[in-house]
């Protein structure tokens, strides 16, 4: 994976600066307090802009030591450990051992949900009353989250699932199902089946950070539903834009190197 090999140092140092800055903002805003930031004309918190997660969840959701190319992490899973069924835990271990090639991201496949949120690259939210569109720098992945009250599609399978959102007060709640069983939650082989059901809660804490809480449900793989949570930070640089990390084109450049 190019990101894992090339980016960790940059991501880490950037991340530290951001975490420090956002921590100050969090204190100023009164963490967990009522949202008092900008709102859209229909009265919802205005999430338009470019956002990014800065943590080590992309490499491993559970607490882990640093190693070459992998920043250490204190974990984002509530309770610290993902409640695998015994046989599923063995599969996770298998995935871990073959992660260098078996991680779907190493083939430029779509990362799935929620992993796309904490891939260490930014994403941009475009919000209207009926849709919240999330466009990601990684592999131009995209989610169109319908907030128009429309129901899920039935019995299909998508890499990124089928997302339907609603506002619960100032929290955007996104319910996603219709997944395939091919994506992982991280580079450490944490995985799911096609029975995956994801509920994300995006709660803006200030204009510049969102509390992100995810409930994972998959009765084929886990003994019970479990939660992860992290902060999503706003990128405030002037004229910042997404610079399409076009993974598939890099894949083909390797395939076709020296030809033509």
């Amino acid at each position: 994976m190019r990101i894992a090999r090339k980016c960790p140092v940059a991501v880490l140092s950037l991340g530290l600066v951001w975490i420090a800055a956002a921590h100050l903002q969090a204190q100023a805003a009164g963490q967990g307090g009522k949202y008092s930031g900008p709102r859209t004309p229909d009265g919802k918190p205005d999430l338009n802009g470019i956002w990014q997660v800065f943590n080590a969840a992309h490499w491993n959701l559970e607490p882990h030591s640093p190693e070459e190319g992998v920043p250490g992490g204190q974990g984002v899973v509530e309770g610290g450990t993902i409640p695998y069924k015994p046989e599923a835990l063995a599969q996770r271990q298998k995935n871990y051992e073959s992660r260098a090639t078996a991680d779907p991201l190493s083939k430029c496949y779509m990362p799935g949900v929620p992993r796309i949120t904490y891939v260490p690259l930014p994403f941009e939210i475009s919000q209207t009353p009926k849709y919240v569109v999330m466009a990601y720098e990684f592999a131009h992945a995209r989610r169109i989250i319908y907030t128009d009250g429309s129901p899920h599609v039935e019995a299909l399978e998508f890499w990124m699932g089928d997302s339907r959102g609603k506002w619960d007060g100032d929290t955007l709640v996104v319910d996603t199902n219709n997944f395939n069983d091919k994506t992982w939650f991280d580079k450490a082989g944490n995985y799911h089946s096609d029975a995956l059901h994801v509920v994300e809660r995006f709660t803006p804490m200030s204009p510049n950070h969102i509390n992100y809480e995810v409930t994972i449900e998959d009765s084929k793989v886990f003994t019970r539903p479990w939660k992860m949570s992290m902060i999503i930070y706003k990128r405030l640089e002037k004229d910042l834009q997404l610079l399409d990390y076009d993974c598939v084109s890099f894949f083909w450049k390797k395939m076709n190197a020296g030809k033509k």
């Binding site: 338009n48 496949y109 209207t128 849709y131 569109v133 395939n180 598939v248 084109s249 395939m255 033509k260």
Partner: protein, 333 residues
């Protein structure tokens, strides 16, 4: 997906299903409206305004005229060989042709057969010799992955090609203050176009979809696109006929460009349902002069239309293996 169906083939099926379930959508509406004329937009239609005062072109759209020729063949028409007892397979692939069969505007299109290239008036793409040569190589080497259509390799279409009406695409346009966002179903391309007059990216930054800067001129969205790399083709819909010589191409297939490509696009709502598209294409390294294309790119779809996930690369192993004998993911053996 669980099924072994590969990306582009699945796409084909999805495309076909869209036509089956929604034959009454906007394509039909274009047949009698002003969209049927292919003159450059001089629209009197005034769209409503968004809360921040932009002309409102938001909504769900389907591709416009799917089977319009892109260009006049530089070497005359191609007469495909007729197999014994069967109909010939033309230069466009069967999905596009099947769609065209169902297209009520078909007769009109076939009558006019006007190419998308409106300038130069002869409809020919003014290729530099090396571009014509590369096109020939592409046509003659379709069994090699490095010459395959970027679409078949699941790469982004680039600009203006992304706007070519093709049966495997549909669109959602959303507008937020300061931006127009064009969301393409085809290969999950998304263009977030700022309208605030900011400068283009540093020229050292090169992207397959380029760098878009938009502005409203009256009711026309004008987008200036630069900072391309040379990964994409300028035009292209349909495919290459079996044994078709490059100089007979009318589909825009196989026209490469240099990173100097500069495109100025004009999206004009000509009525409440149709967006006419015009693009001036300039690249002195690749073309002997700038040229202009114009066509009805987008026709409003049903309000409840939804863009589906276009997982192309994820399912492409079998298709590439079949076309070229090259295995792009031996771990799936």
């Amino acid at each position: 997906m669980k099924s072994p169906v590969s990306g582009p083939i699945l796409t084909l099926m999805l495309g076909a299903s869209i036509w089956l379930v929604a034959p009454d959508t906007a394509i039909g509406q274009t047949s009698s409206g002003p969209a049927a004329k292919s003159a450059p937009a001089a629209s009197t239609y005034t769209p409503p305004r968004t809360p921040d005062g932009q002309p409102d072109i938001s909504g769900m759209y389907e591709p416009g005229w799917i089977n319009q020729p892109a260009e006049t063949a530089v070497g005359g028409p191609w007469k495909p060989p007729v197999p014994k007892g069967g109909k010939s397979i033309g230069p466009t692939d069967f999905g596009a042709r099947d769609a065209a069969e169902k297209d009520p505007t078909r007769t009109q299109i076939e009558q006019s057969r006007k190419p998308m290239v409106i300038d130069p008036p002869d409809g020919k793409v003014p290729m530099q010799p090396w571009v014509a040569e590369m096109r020939k190589k592409i046509y003659d080497n379709q069994e090699k992955p490095e010459y395959l259509d970027p679409r078949v390799r699941c790469l982004q279409a680039g600009v203006p090609r992304a706007n070519t009406p093709v049966y495997y695409n549909s669109y959602q346009i959303i507008q937020k203050p300061g931006y127009v966002v064009i969301i393409y179903e085809w290969n999950h391309m998304t263009r977030i176009i700022p309208l605030d007059g900011r400068p283009h990216l540093d020229p050292r930054i090169r992207l397959p979809m380029g760098d878009s800067r938009g502005r409203w001129e009256g009711n026309t969205l004008v987008v200036d696109v630069t900072n391309f790399n040379d990964d994409t083709w300028v035009l292209g819909h349909g495919g290459i006929g079996e044994g078709q010589p490059a100089e007979t191409a009318t589909s825009g297939h196989g026209i490469v460009h240099s990173p100097e490509l500069h495109v100025v696009e004009r999206f004009t709502p000509v009525n409440k349902d149709v967006i006419r598209y015009e693009a001036r294409i300039e690249d002195p390294k690749a073309f002997t002069r700038p040229f202009t294309i114009s066509f009805d790119a987008m026709a409003r779809g049903r309000a409840d239309h939804q863009l589906f996930e276009y997982a192309c690369h994820e399912g492409n192993r079998d298709g590439i293996l079949m076309a070229t004998g090259v295995d792009i993911d031996p771990s799936q053996k």
